[in-house]
Symmetry: C2
Subunit: 347 residues, 2 copies
């Protein structure tokens, strides 16, 4: 029997609640589809930081490297550890170290879910650059604490980084119908974003079957709300993709439904799957977090592992659940009840 | 009779159509309310660039300095001149030279206008930093055109710049009901955005009557769509404010309704008023651009000049127009018909 080694990083807050749910669903899907998952759980989190002084052990990255995939809950608990420490100590280093340069986030309404828009027919695949750009972490502060203080934050875009995410976007667009939207702000950011636009233009010659359009981030944000049905695959930088995918989560009914995959397309290191939502400390461990985003992320993991059949069955089980209204309204159903419904739909 | 000197910069594309409409409305409002506007129009634009090699004459800023206010249409016509040239040659230098550090944009539904959200009861005032931050223009490219190319773009935040926009935000919140949302991304941008958050925290001690909450930009974008009624005054950096105000325009029914003011709060130089929309070359001079955003921006100009009564009457005339369905549906009514309706509502 085929066996996959999965590292489970529940992380903080509701991350623990939803990864437990996802694990149960994925294990059942494996059993029913002739493969098995061996999961190893690591307690790396803000609590771990308070005890050990770091978000993960110094060999954390090396430990994770031997797995086939990573399933992560959520990282961060600002009242315990500043986000700027916790995220840079766990989530962001994994994305970078494992060259998970493509962060993929699907945005569509699950059956039975009512979104905030009047428009209901959209199916957007956002692809976010995940390793550099505006979140490079380069910068500093001078004259700190004085009237002359200046803080600088430098976005760094490399040819390799921009080319590979754009190629990934072109490939996804090719596979899905041929429409790609590239998002920049080249009218105001004349170095980074003009570079991105030029690269898009240059690569487009290699993908004559893909229709690519460039949008400014402000116009794209408006478009996602005004005309989401006009979009197909959207590719954007780290920050712009971050913003657009929360917006995508919003139009699909909320963060409880937004799944994501941090993909290393070369498969030179494990990819990581995580719901878009955060750790939501205020509702942690109350048993009311919606596990659907985490389960959907798990389905993306199965897909990535090549278990396409099982992935499809998990998606169908999610859809059967929300179609019955279970887990479809934010805050109404308990984590356990939603999980039980998905599990039974797998029968 | 009180006289105000207004510089008119129609700019490009529909900028010309809508400033003509706004000028007619403002002149009538002046005549009916006992003051007069003397407008001088300057043809600075992409066409001007093609003839003269620059977006405005070298003494353009000095020419504008003597006016009481500036009314601008829109700048940019990418097929003639790259946006990265046109905007940095006209719009952005004015904002910077005249220290128009507060860009104010109101977002609410006009009567008769149907927005894309199911939610209809919101009234948000976005305040965008307008002179530095992510649009500082600092950066460069090395190894250009080679595999090793790197593009960097540096956001620069000064203590003075951050303090003054936050104070402006606190003041506006105090005047409007006491709720301020400050938008950053301090979990991923640890220099600039942590600095902004610290400054917010420090200043909040001076405004104990204002309830201030910090949001991440991604969460705020989602909130504007999921729960816009929960927001009041929102203050954000140049880029984040840019994105949020296009999103604000979207939820208020589209860019045809989104007004803005680039304010120099110290009144050491003229302020500038402009619709949020761009030049829309595809519909330029067809007589179908919606002038409401430009007229609303004109009302903000009257307000700034101290003509509060006239400003209120222009707003009432706009509302009477959209309430009758005129100009309320994107693309349906002609520019002239909408303008005529606003004019007659001023009687
Ligand atoms: C928590 C934060 C650093 C993270 C990000 O911005 O990447 C999150 O918002 C996300 O979208 O995955
Ligand atoms: C045209 C562009 C430079 C401008 C900006 O980003 O400031 C516009 O988008 C706006 O919002 O006023």
């Amino acid at each position: 029997m085929k066996t996959y080694k999965i590292a489970l990083l529940p992380g903080d807050g509701i991350g623990r609640d939803v990864t437990e749910a996802a694990k149960a669903v994925l294990e059942k899907a494996a059993a029913r589809n002739g493969f098995s998952l061996v999961t190893t759980s690591y307690p790396w989190s803000c609590d771990y930081y308070l005890e050990n002084g770091s978000m993960m052990p110094s060999d954390g990255i090396e430990t994770l490297r031997s797995f086939d995939a990573i399933l992560l809950g959520a990282v961060g608990w600002p009242r315990k550890v500043p986000d700027s420490v916790s995220l840079h100590g766990l989530l962001l280093p994994i994305r970078k170290a494992f060259v998970q340069y493509a962060n993929i986030r699907p945005h569509r309404l699950l059956p039975g879910v009512q979104g905030p828009l009047r428009s209901e027919n959209f199916d957007i695949l956002c692809i976010r650059e995940n390793t550099e750009g505006e979140y490079s972490g380069a910068g500093g502060r001078v004259h700190q604490g004085t009237d002359s203080e200046v803080a600088v934050e430098t976005s760094i875009f490399t040819r390799k980084g921009v080319e590979r995410i754009l190629r990934f976007g072109f490939e996804q667009a090719r596979a899905r119908g041929g429409k790609l939207a590239s998002v920049t702000k080249s009218n105001a950011q004349r170095y980074s974003m003009v570079f991105w636009d030029e690269t898009t233009e240059r690569l487009s010659a290699e993908y004559p079957d893909v229709e690519v359009t460039s949008y400014h981030i402000d116009a794209m944000a408006a478009r996602m709300v005004m005309a989401p049905e006009s979009l197909d695959v959207v590719v954007a930088s780290n920050l712009f993709g971050d913003i657009l995918t929360d917006l995508g989560a919003a139009i699909q009914g909320g963060l409880g439904f937004a799944a994501s995959a941090n993909i290393n397309p070369d498969r030179s290191a494990p990819s990581m799957f995580e719901p878009v939502h955060g750790s939501a400390p205020d509702i942690a461990h109350l048993g009311i977090a919606n596990p659907i985003a985490a389960i959907w992320s798990g389905a993306m993991m199965l897909e990535h592992l090549g278990e396409t059949g099982a992935a499809g069955k998990v998606m169908a089980a999610i859809e059967a659940t929300t179609a019955r209204g279970i887990g479809a309204s934010p805050g109404r159903d308990k984590t356990d009840a939603i999980t039980a419904s998905v599990l039974s739909a797998l029968d």
